[in-house]
Symmetry: C2
Subunit: 301 residues, 2 copies
């Protein structure tokens, strides 16, 4: 069997749990997707996968979880690691690191999927060597993870910057937004489903020259400028389904610089090309982040 330490990684999402064994440095030996049903059945299937993987590949040293949230990340809390107020039926209060760690008898760690992705991009992706990194995913929702001083950011809760209220784009007047909490927060205006709702077309029907994309770049540039002026990231990684359209990056970069108007002097045309980029991990950033969380749980066991 391999001499390389083997970890368990989970990217926990509302529709599926991506489970894998391997490491951040050497990649996954095996990956499985388990549909997210109720917590009991889902955890049971995950444990079965990891036990079977241990028989095939050897002992797992620890498990890391990159999860949908919100999560309780306060170290001193009795419910540390639990999912808190999710509307997902049955999952409120579910403590994945406790359940999986105890069932497998190994140390466990957890953070938000996007915080984990920011960590992964800093250690093994597009932002290598940076210790101040933002990871933004733009897909069915908008999520933001932050690394500051090399640490995944949390305090009273954790970053939820998908729900920022930003200046409306003029071409978007009259669109109410689709966030069930806020209507026209960033996610309500600029997620994939929001684009479809605003323009009455599925995403792949909205052509490259459509004004929708200028509006989209406006909001994502406002997000980038907001992150730069608050946590001063060295690198902003933009991933997720909507960002598969790489032509959006040029518009986002130039509008971000327009908003800064020379204020954050390190942000220039050249540096924006280097510092606002797609993800750069070999596997999904959240999964790589889960391996890194597992490594940390093993070190601190």
């Amino acid at each position: 069997m391999s001499e390389v330490p083997l970890y368990a990684a989970v990217e926990a999402g509302g529709t599926k749990m991506v489970c894998a064994v391997g490491s951040a440095g050497h990649g996954s030996r095996e990956t499985v997707r388990i549909s997210t049903a109720g917590p009991d059945a889902t955890v049971r299937r995950m444990v079965e996968f990891f036990r079977a993987a241990e028989e095939r590949y050897g002992a797992l040293k620890a498990i890391g979880i990159a999860s949908f949230g919100p999560l309780d990340l306060e170290a001193a809390s009795p419910t540390y690691g639990a999912i808190t107020t999710t509307p997902k039926p049955g999952w409120q209060g579910t403590n994945l690191p406790r359940l999986l760690g105890e069932a497998l008898g190994i140390p466990a760690g957890i953070n938000t999927d996007v915080n984990a992705a920011a960590l992964a991009e800093a250690r093994a992706g597009a932002a290598q060597g940076c210790d101040a990194v933002a990871y933004v995913t733009v897909g069915t929702g908008i999520g933001v993870g932050l690394l500051s001083g090399g640490r995944m950011v949390h305090g009273l809760g954790h970053p939820e910057a998908g729900h920022l209220r930003l200046s409306r784009h003029a071409a978007h007047d009259g669109f109410q937004g689709i966030c069930p909490y806020h209507g026209d927060c960033l996610e309500g205006l600029a997620s994939g489903p929001a684009i479809s709702a605003a323009w009455g077309a599925s995403l792949d029907q909205v052509e490259p020259g459509h004004p929708a994309w200028d509006v989209e770049c406006h909001y994502l540039a406002h997000l980038c400028a907001t992150l730069i002026l608050t946590v001063a990231p060295e690198h902003i990684v933009l991933g997720g389904g909507v960002m598969m359209q790489e032509r959006l990056f040029a518009g986002i970069r130039s509008k971000t610089l327009d908003l800064l108007a020379g204020y954050a002097a390190a942000w220039t045309e050249d540096s924006a090309v280097a510092r606002i980029t797609p993800p750069g991990c070999g596997e999904p950033s959240g999964l790589v982040g889960a391996y890194l969380i597992a490594q940390a749980a093993h070190r601190h066991r």
Copy 2:
């Protein structure tokens, strides 16, 4: 003489340098205000004060500086500690910790005035025991300092959230804002001079029932919500001249909760009263922060 370790503290501002000797725990033994002239003359007068203070009170262990910016805070930079792109004549490139530390022969540290104030509020003020804290000053400008994981936030630069672009208040339509960089950024719309410019009256002429204050609370609530959704502070301290009007706090708290709309579940009416407050240090937060920076410089010498 006292057995308590004695430190030098500087709150470096564009119009004056507040210099003091003492400690965060025991307060200042002596404080002096030196007008900010050119860097050479100003530094010479500061050194004279600290040398004379050493004769009176005993040796200073280290010096901490809480400074106007922007500052180079990148540890590996050859110009670490220098003021970077200030429009203040003669001050660009001035490295206060190097100049003062070498002249006095003691370790020196520096951070932004508002980051230092956030640290001070966390250790000795209104946010004691917290390690995720935002400090906002609303006066002739708007500055924001952040503590995350107990560390003053910096990355590529440091927080400059006074220059965020936020949703305009309807009653403010037509006002261009006064920020020389951005026009209608937060500072351009909501600093003391911006309030005066928007309503054509000096601040003390704008009566408590005037719509200006509802507009002001709107912008500061947008700032609070933005900070909560990005860095998840446990406590937000609002200081500075404009915030001397304590009645503004109620409006800011309730508008912040409206903007969150239940999303950050830990923010409730009660917790907002406890978590959005005036400063609580016995001396100005920036000066107390400078002592704490001096202590850290002494520990890490």
